[in-house]
Symmetry: C2
Subunit: 754 residues, 2 copies
């Protein structure tokens, strides 16, 4: 073992100052293998061609390609043929899933005047594919139940729990009413779920021009934003309970799988629900009376927003074909040369709601170009150490069907072998948005430093950093300047990483560029090649950048001697989450004490306007102090393990990582693969056992939005104090388990490195 001084001298001797970047070893690589890896990566990044990305999109979005459509299958087969043409071992895996499509759809305003909603997206003359009406799925929400309901209308803003608290203060009930909610504020499936919990019998969801129309910018086809008659299709399946086929929870929807009867599929909605355009919504909203909506509830329609109930009375009729449809996942496997039983998985879905150029073909096309580039590398002699699996998922739109059923089918093998899952979905112009497991935060920062932004001609990392420095929040700004890595967000749900991360516990990343090409064609018939080539990443340079980014990540993960997980950033991030939940509990307590005090003081009566009376909130029991000690103890164990691992890795990396070669890497890697698994619990979260990860989950009442330390955080939010004290014990134990897993990896590394 060398002294630090000698080490420094050695470093100086072997580091030609002119080329420091090339020599700085990659995490998990020795200096020598770093040099090789960097050469392969440079070759790789030179290959993707925007013209190809464009051509794939043109082909794949030429016709509507939703689940069950002829062109969905046609696309899968074409993708398969391309992969085979490029020399790969590729196949299609098929599942059979519940996929309802509309049989009857109607919406009428009956009182005080009569109006029939169009619920159709008209042809736009300059846009050639917008006229493919016979093949288009109509405007609807998948997994709504059937219903024929007539009732007064109530406007509920975003339709999230907070909105119903405000309705309570106004003395307005939605019991027996049909609610109209605007898109935004939560994932759409939350709106009918919360509405039904409050007794509503039907739900309409519309796109307000404030979030999604002329307020944001010029509308299609003059501009990229949602036109008057454009509507947002989408799934309303209760995915926070479990995603995937509603009839086969927890198992793959293979031909012979045991299926629930439809009546037992709990992820269908409880009430009928349909999305409408703002053209259809305006007459309904304009017919409401009752209190003027609170300022934050008002959108950009040229009306005074009222809440109701009524006098507007609406009739909503929905009937669906609850059919079983096949879905087609296209899978490519590149066997690993050294560690074939460690898998790097990379996916993007190929199904769309209609033509789906942006969502998902912008991402799917980039992924295809990645695969083509790898085929060329293989021909030049590149050999990945680990097995690489590329997946083009079907059925993401209705409910992450293709990825979930595949993951459930291969769950056992995935649990044993999957090291990392890298997802993408829609892609556009702007900066890289990376979210995922914090064990990969340092890694993806390293990748981002090596990709050039096609507009700014600086690294995409530099550009991300610049956006954070430009942030008005001084703390974030200083952190962006001074912290080694830019923080990545945690994953909620909304794309195909969900089963990998939340169900199996595989470290995952979600990557995509965006932020500059705003628009309002999400899940509409206008999300097509015309729109994308006029308003999106029109020259496909960000399609190339995505292929370069995700492909570099795949190469670097597959080629590393030691999997480049990092536990310092994980530990630091979990510390923040613990602080957050402790603060949340404190704040909830303080808020209730404060509100009770204000009620006692007569504050609510004193500020009431007798012409717009409000119902004062009721006093609530003051929450007890909660026991966060188990989290703190678990955290200390995790932190100690992370330090041990750092020490072991630093030791192994001395002398250009020459010690790495002598390490028991196979066992160290296998231990590392299991670290993310150690963050899960077999029993899952309270009341939703499918979700096993204890650090990340989509919120039960937010849908896509993440809840970190979900068991603890949501128990606090739902004021179930007893449950909090149970869950802190469980999650504390999970942190200890993770500490043990990390310590195990450190031990393998230390033991054999000496």
């Amino acid at each position: 073992m060398k002294t630090p001084v000698v080490h420094l001298l050695c470093t100086l001797l072997i580091t030609p100052l002119a080329r420091p970047a090339e020599i700085a070893p990659l995490r998990g690589y020795s200096a020598d293998s770093t040099r090789d890896e960097r050469e392969w990566e440079a070759k790789f990044r030179a290959i993707p061609d925007p013209a190809n990305v464009r051509a794939y999109m043109q082909r794949l979005s030429a016709r509507p390609h939703h689940v069950g459509s002829p062109y969905d299958k046609d696309n899968a087969e074409w993708i398969l043929s391309k992969f085979k043409e490029w020399g790969f071992d590729a196949k299609i895996e098929t599942f059979d899933v519940l996929f309802p499509t509309p049989k009857e759809r109607s919406l009428e305003l009956l009182e005080p005047t009569h109006f029939t909603a169009k619920i159709e997206e008209p042809t736009v003359s300059v846009d050639p594919t917008s006229s493919q009406h016979t093949e288009q799925l109509p405007v609807y929400n998948a997994y709504s139940i059937d219903g024929d309901v007539t009732a007064p209308l109530v406007y509920v803003n975003y339709g999230i729990p907070d909105d119903y608290e405000q309705l309570d203060r106004l003395g307005i009930s939605v019991k027996g009413a049909i609610v109209i909610a605007r898109y935004g504020g939560s994932w759409r499936g939350i709106k009918p779920k919360v509405a039904a919990e409050h007794g509503a019998i039907g739900c309409l969801i519309y796109s307000d021009p404030h979030e999604d129309g002329y307020f944001a910018g010029e509308t299609f086809p003059e501009g990229p934003y949602r036109p008057k008659d454009g509507a947002q299709r989408g799934s309303v399946m209760d995915m926070p309970v479990y995603p995937g086929d509603p009839l086969t929870p927890g198992v793959g929807a293979t031909k012979d799988a045991k299926r629930l009867p439809l009546s037992e599929a709990v992820t269908l909605t409880k009430i009928p629900v349909m999305p409408i355009s703002y053209g259809d919504a305006q007459p309904l909203l304009a017919a409401l009376k009752g209190p003027v909506a609170p300022q934050a509830w008002r959108g950009a329609l040229p009306i005074t927003y009222h809440i109701g109930p009524g006098p507007a009375k609406v009739h909503l009729n929905l009937k669906f074909n609850f059919d079983i449809k096949p879905i087609y996942d296209v899978i490519v496997t590149i066997p690993g040369a050294t560690y074939p039983d460690e898998w790097i998985i990379r996916g993007n879905h190929h199904d769309g709601w209609v033509n789906g150029a942006e969502d998902p073909i912008s991402g799917a096309s980039a992924l295809m170009e990645e695969v083509r580039a790898l085929s060329l590398l293989l021909k030049q002699g590149w050999k990945p150490k680990r097995t690489i699996i590329y997946c083009l998922w079907d059925g993401e739109e209705p409910g992450l069907l293709g990825s979930t059923e595949w993951a459930e089918t291969h769950a056992e093998e995935l649990a044993a072998k999957a090291a990392v899952y890298i997802n993408s979905d829609s892609n556009g112009r702007g900066r890289l948005n990376a979210e995922g497991s914090h064990t990969l935060e340092k890694f993806i920062n390293g990748v981002a430093r090596d990709i050039e932004d096609p507009e700014a001609k600086i690294s995409v990392w530099k550009r991300m950093q610049a956006f954070r420095i430009a942030n008005p929040d001084a703390t974030d700004r200083q952190e962006a300047r001074n912290r080694a890595d830019l923080r990545i967000g945690a994953l909620g749900s909304g794309s195909d990483y969900t089963a990998f991360l939340d169900h199996i516990g595989i470290a995952s990343l979600d990557l995509g560029f965006g932020g500059e090409d705003g628009g309002g064609i999400y899940h509409s018939a206008y999300d097509d090649f015309y729109w994308y080539t006029h308003f999106g990443d029109t020259n496909f340079v960000y399609g190339r950048a995505l292929a370069q980014t995700a492909g570099t990540a795949v190469l670097r993960l597959a080629g590393a001697e030691l999997l480049p997980f990092d536990f310092d950033n994980l530990t630091e991030t979990i510390r923040r989450y613990i602080d957050e939940v402790e603060r949340l509990a404190r704040d909830k307590r303080d808020q209730i004490i404060e509100r009770n005090k204000a009620i006692d003081e007569g504050v609510f009566a004193a500020i009431d306007d007798p012409r717009h009376k409000k119902i004062p909130p009721a006093k609530e029991p003051v929450p007890p102090f909660l026991n966060f000690a188990p989290l703190e103890n678990g955290f200390v164990a995790l932190q100690r393990a992370a330090e041990l691992y750092d020490h072991a890795l630093a030791h192994a990396s001395e002398n250009g990582g020459s010690a790495l070669a002598r390490a028991n890497l196979r066992d160290a890697n296998m231990r590392l693969v299991q670290v993310e698994r150690s963050l899960t619990l077999k029993d899952g979260l309270p009341n939703r056992p499918w979700f096993k990860h204890q650090i990340y989950a989509p919120g039960f009442y937010t849908g896509y939005g993440v809840k970190t330390l979900p068991a603890v955080r949501e128990s606090i939010e739902q004021k179930d104090w007893k449950l909090v004290d149970e869950q802190t014990v469980k999650v504390g134990k999970v942190l200890e388990n993770a500490g043990e897993a990390i310590q195990g990896a450190a031990a393998e590394l230390s033991r054999s490195a000496q």
Copy 2:
């Protein structure tokens, strides 16, 4: 001199525990005189009758009564006749002022399509006075210059300096353009002033439905908000330079006053300016292209807001009659029995833009009912110690003409005698809003504790407190619970207190109820009796509450043995202002350092979207550290004096205030009257000598919005660092002067009280 123990015993002996509130002595009163005063006040508050307030409004708002109109004079004469009928010594004082009215008004969109603006407010059939078109002043801005201009249009949001900084970043100049700004964000006169500074040649100001139309609530006549064709008249005189007649700055506009030629009247605008409705604005805004306006700039019209310039091209033609018109101030004097040379002045204007029911007749009617109530008290033998002067001002709307000319005419006598000025203006339903000199903060809190809120049936003070407790800001909430007095805001401008406070240095208050009756008829033809009796304080109980509040304040000030000024709250408030300006300087410095750093780092280039390029800001010299020591030294002197005064007053108030009777009250009071004067400087503020108060002023670039410690604060805002160091010396000296004045009053009180 008694020991505290004896004092306590005495207090117990003379204090029947059942009636502690009545015995608690009023500030400036002995226990005995408190009892008398409270009896008179109770009698007074029983008199005002909502039916009378209603009747005055019906009469005074029956026809348009702007400056120069027949009904303006008729109203003044009718008010005079009522005052005489009630037995008062009343008179009309007349001044002759410049008051421009429109001769020609036209606005056309020339390109890309043609549209002619209506600029007319149509008759509303249910509203009887809305049809009085022959008597109505048309929609216009008073003190705009003549102009006939044709130019491309640019949308400038509120048209305040910050908005032009954003335009600079977008590379858009208004040079040679006509700007269109929405109302809000500043006083209207700032918009043409800043536009002209940036080279614009014309200015339109419109009411966006977001702030003032259907977004806020149902429009007139279905609801109280501004209808499509309603427009906001108003003055655009450069009042932050000096208010009042533009031709007679600093002197009364009496018949023989020396007048400036029109060409030298600097408070007229530099470019032509006209207000328009949102009905007229929509076609103009919809015709703009260029960048989409930043999110915060977008209003509630159903269009995408663009900035331009062009292709919209407009033609604006304005010609005015620049006439001299008479104005009629109605003045009532009630001579003081003990201190006739100490004046309590109370005012509200009577002129409106059209029928002006809310603005100003809701306040003027309450004031009339106050005067009637005093007439009944006088008949019962009440004798105020001090002289009371009630004023109904004319010409407030065009530029505080009646109050300013009167104050300038009587400046010398006012400087010697005026103790307090109490203003009101529009009045409505809701809570009391009190603003003014912090020497009166404690006093007006005491008054508010004794007035019953007609809706909540608790004191108006309790209701104000409840609103602050309901505030989401925890600091404000705790302060509202724990501080002895609720804070009052500082006065900027926008009503008739301006000359009294800012020019002469008379401690002033502005009082009014509101906050519940929102509306959008401000300065329109629809501000009339129909509107007010349907949407305002329809049963006039808040009219009565205003009469009770302001009248109680007048009685209590006029009847006190010692003027009830307090210097602790003043001192504490000035401490906050000093902290604010010191922080402002620090923040400005930090911001410039931070932005320079970001420029050096290339942040602005890195975040730029090449399809929507922005011009990076230029580097700026880092501001020097500034010398705030003179403010700190001045503050210490002031603080010490306030403590001395407290001590003297506490001493004088011992034993139920019996020592007060033996004090040299005449001299103490005369010293107290001069304290607010000691906060002024003869030379006034930098570049606007008319404004002499050194603690409060309307902002040079906000108009109505107050700037406290204005000389220092505005020099920092305008980055004139040399001027800051000059002004801290001057203002520090002012604080020392105030300390001396207070110490003088304390000395009179202490000397004679022993």
